[in-house]
């Protein structure tokens, strides 16, 4: 029997832009003056929608507006959206770190949030002491922690360092220990925000397993991530946030599609919108597709054009790009170094083109990540993510079965014998 454990009604959060200093006293007085006359907050009216790219007119902004959703018990709800879409603000409201400007949130059950784990770790205390401290901060009693200490230590894999001060831990170990504490919390609702980005593969798998286990126990999980792979494996339902509002709510598959379509890139051509300070930058990139409007037929040669503006001559330039699928997983990687042939050695604009003679990308949507670097100093000059979206179609391929999107990512040439 599932019941609603989180109910969010018309939540809104108003933030003041810029520095909160000199203007505040007069604003406070004005606000107070309106309040005693029974009027609405004068600054809450002028707030505009949250769009970080445009310069705003007013000093106040709605970081969140009109958010409504419900979460059932045992559900894993994913929350996705661009940076600044309001994901973290929403989690902050849910975890009571700050309170909403308007609206109400009803929560049934105990709440544990993993907003950047390891908060409250004291560097001078030992691992064991920190487990107790961190557990207590997250709302566990001493007795609960003692009874789970062995489990926590085993999960973290830090048994050998338990009596060493945490300041001597590596950052990965800190995260492991912190996540272990939080994962063993006896809370009905768990909020996870981008913690899986740290830790090695083995530990990430462990964490994923733990989250799956949590839902089987009937616990509810809210999961925020930019990692579409993790989102799609862990969640069934997603909330797509956009400019402080809930843009889409529904199945994970549709939400991710909507996210990529609206947020990630517009078209198969990229043109840099701003002058960057680096010594070189990609000003234009285009995937030349076999069909119009960014559609490419499977198996056809694929050309990718780049135009790089060099402001200071480079001696050891290297350039590479990846083709990534709709879950941001790289499928193809191609590169060129200065040692292969002179690259970007003079100031000015350089055009380079890469041709993939027989790309066998499978049906689906793809993007490009680019990496411009100096291979001698091993420093990244510019990297771009998710530009030049294009789609692979397979309509010229004979097949007796319908093509299934996401059935695979890449096909190969083959010969059957006899």
């Amino acid at each position: 029997m599932s019941q609603t454990v989180i109910e969010v009604e018309n939540i809104a959060k108003l933030y003041r832009l810029g520095e909160v200093t000199t203007g505040t006293l007069s604003h406070d007085l004005n606000r107070w003056w309106h309040k005693i006359r029974g009027k609405d907050d004068p600054y809450a009216q002028v707030g505009q929608t949250n769009d970080r790219t445009r310069k705003s007119v007013s000093d106040y902004v709605w970081a969140l507006k009109d958010i409504n959703f419900k979460v059932q018990q045992g559900e894993v709800l994913g929350i996705i959206g661009r940076n600044g879409a309001g994901k973290s603000t929403l989690l902050k409201l849910l975890s009571r770190v700050t309170s909403p400007t308007q609206g109400t949130i009803k929560i049934r059950g105990r709440f544990a949030s993993l907003l950047e784990v390891g908060t409250g770790f004291h560097p001078e205390l030992t691992g064991r002491e920190n487990v107790y401290l961190n557990g207590a901060i997250l709302g566990m009693t001493r007795r609960e922690i003692s009874s789970k200490l062995d489990e926590i230590v085993e999960f973290s894999g830090c048994a050998a360092y338990l009596d060493t001060p945490v300041k001597r831990y590596s950052s990965g170990m800190k995260v492991r220990l912190a996540f272990a504490v939080a994962a063993h919390l006896r809370s009905e609702i768990l909020i996870v925000d981008e913690v899986l980005a740290v830790g090695d593969i083995e530990f990430q798998k462990k964490c994923m397993g733990k989250m799956g286990e949590a839902t089987r126990d009937g616990r509810t999980v809210l999961f925020v991530s930019h990692n579409m792979q993790a989102i799609s494996t862990l969640t069934t339902r997603c909330l797509l946030m956009r400019r402080g509002t809930c843009f889409f709510e529904g199945s994970t598959h549709e939400a991710i599609a909507a996210y990529l379509e609206n947020e990630v890139s517009s078209g198969n051509e990229y043109v840099s919108s701003e002058e960057k300070s680096g010594i070189a930058q990609l000003v234009r990139a285009k995937v030349e597709t076999s069909e119009p409007s960014g559609t490419h037929v499977h198996g056809q040669p694929l050309k990718v054009h780049f135009e790089v503006e060099v402001k200071e001559p480079l001696q050891n330039a290297s350039f590479s790009f990846q083709i990534t699928d709709n879950l941001h997983q790289p499928i193809v990687h191609a590169w060129i170094f200065d040692s292969d042939r002179p690259l970007l050695r003079t100031v000015g604009r350089h055009k380079i083109t890469c041709t993939l003679p027989h790309p066998r990308l499978y049906l689906g949507n793809y993007c490009i990540n680019t990496y411009l670097a100096d291979s001698r100093s091993k420093s990244m000059i510019e990297s771009l993510e998710s530009i030049c979206q294009f789609r692979i179609e397979m309509h010229n391929q004979h097949r007796e079965w319908a093509w299934q999107e996401n059935a695979c990512k890449y096909t190969e040439e083959w010969n059957w014998e006899p």
């Binding site: 505040t24 902050k92 009571r96 949130i105 929560i107 949030s113 001078e124 207590a136 709302g139």
Partner: protein, 276 residues
């Protein structure tokens, strides 16, 4: 549980604080351990500081300025004044930066914010305990020497915990009011360190209340710390001007300030993350 933009004035979540009592203890332990890791002398530092202060007072106020000490041995007189005063002052200054110091932690996890200042008041008790020990040793030595002091043993056992509680509560109340107000306007933070030094002279710490001229006396008696310090000195040394009226006034003020502090603190804790 319902999260709303505004709660009632008296919706203080004190039950929450009780539920998190283990957290308060962990904070106390953390504060204590963290201070002494990697120091050689450890808690001895707590001895040195009050001893040097008392010695300075003895030389300057008693030796040079020849100020009255109500006929008591100067060393004992100053110790009995600075021990409770230091406890109050430390509680006040440490809790007054609650929001600023813990912004990072408060920004990530929810727990009753009051747990932090309360734990500070408790962990400061350790420092007080050590200084108190110094006072007791000095008292024993003077008694053995046959000095004219008359400690009130019954009152000592019954009254001391009450006085310490009042000191802590007053320090906590004032501290959290200051910390709540400094989230937006940082000016107050500068005032505290400097104000607390001035406040010591507005309290009979280095002089007895009995020597204060009549026209200033009423003002001095309005200071809630006056009653506590005088009572403390009366219990331990059997001298000074103790009165129930004065102590009652102190108790009333302490309760009021603590209540006001908790209310203001609760108002601020909900949205301070947006301003701090």
């Amino acid at each position: 549980m319902v999260i709303q933009p505004r709660n009632g004035w008296l919706d203080l979540h004190l039950a929450d604080l009780w539920r998190y009592r283990d957290l308060v203890l962990m904070f106390v332990k953390r504060d204590f351990v963290a201070v002494y890791k990697q120091t050689i002398l450890g808690p001895i530092w707590f001895f040195i500081q009050p001893l040097l202060t008392t010695l300075t007072f003895t030389i300057i106020f008693s030796g040079v300025a020849k100020m009255s000490t109500d006929g008591l041995p100067p060393l004992l007189f100053y110790l009995a004044g600075t021990t409770p005063w230091n406890y109050f002052a430390t509680c006040l200054t440490k809790t007054s930066t609650t929001f600023k110091d813990n912004a990072n932690l408060f920004g990530k996890v929810y727990f009753p914010r009051l747990a932090t200042p309360v734990s500070i008041v408790i962990s400061t008790l350790i420092q007080f305990g050590i200084q108190f020990l110094v006072l007791l040793v000095a008292l024993a030595w003077h008694l053995w020497q046959g000095s004219p002091i008359h400690p009130n043993w019954v009152a000592m056992i019954l009254g001391s915990p009450l006085l310490v509680l009042m000191l802590g509560a007053l320090g906590l109340g004032t501290g959290i009011i200051v910390s709540s107000l400094t989230t937006k306007y940082r000016d107050l933070a500068f005032l505290v360190t400097f104000g607390i030094q001035l406040a010591m002279y507005a309290t009979p710490v280095v002089y007895p209340l009995s020597t204060v001229p009549e026209k200033y006396r009423t003002w001095l008696e309005l200071n809630p710390m006056t009653g506590i310090i005088e009572a403390f000195r009366f219990i331990y040394l059997g001298a000074g001007s103790f009165s129930w009226d004065l102590l009652g006034w102190s108790a009333a003020c302490t309760t009021m300030i603590l209540m006001a502090g908790i209310i203001i603190f609760n108002r601020v804790e909900k949205t301070f993350m947006d301003t701090v």
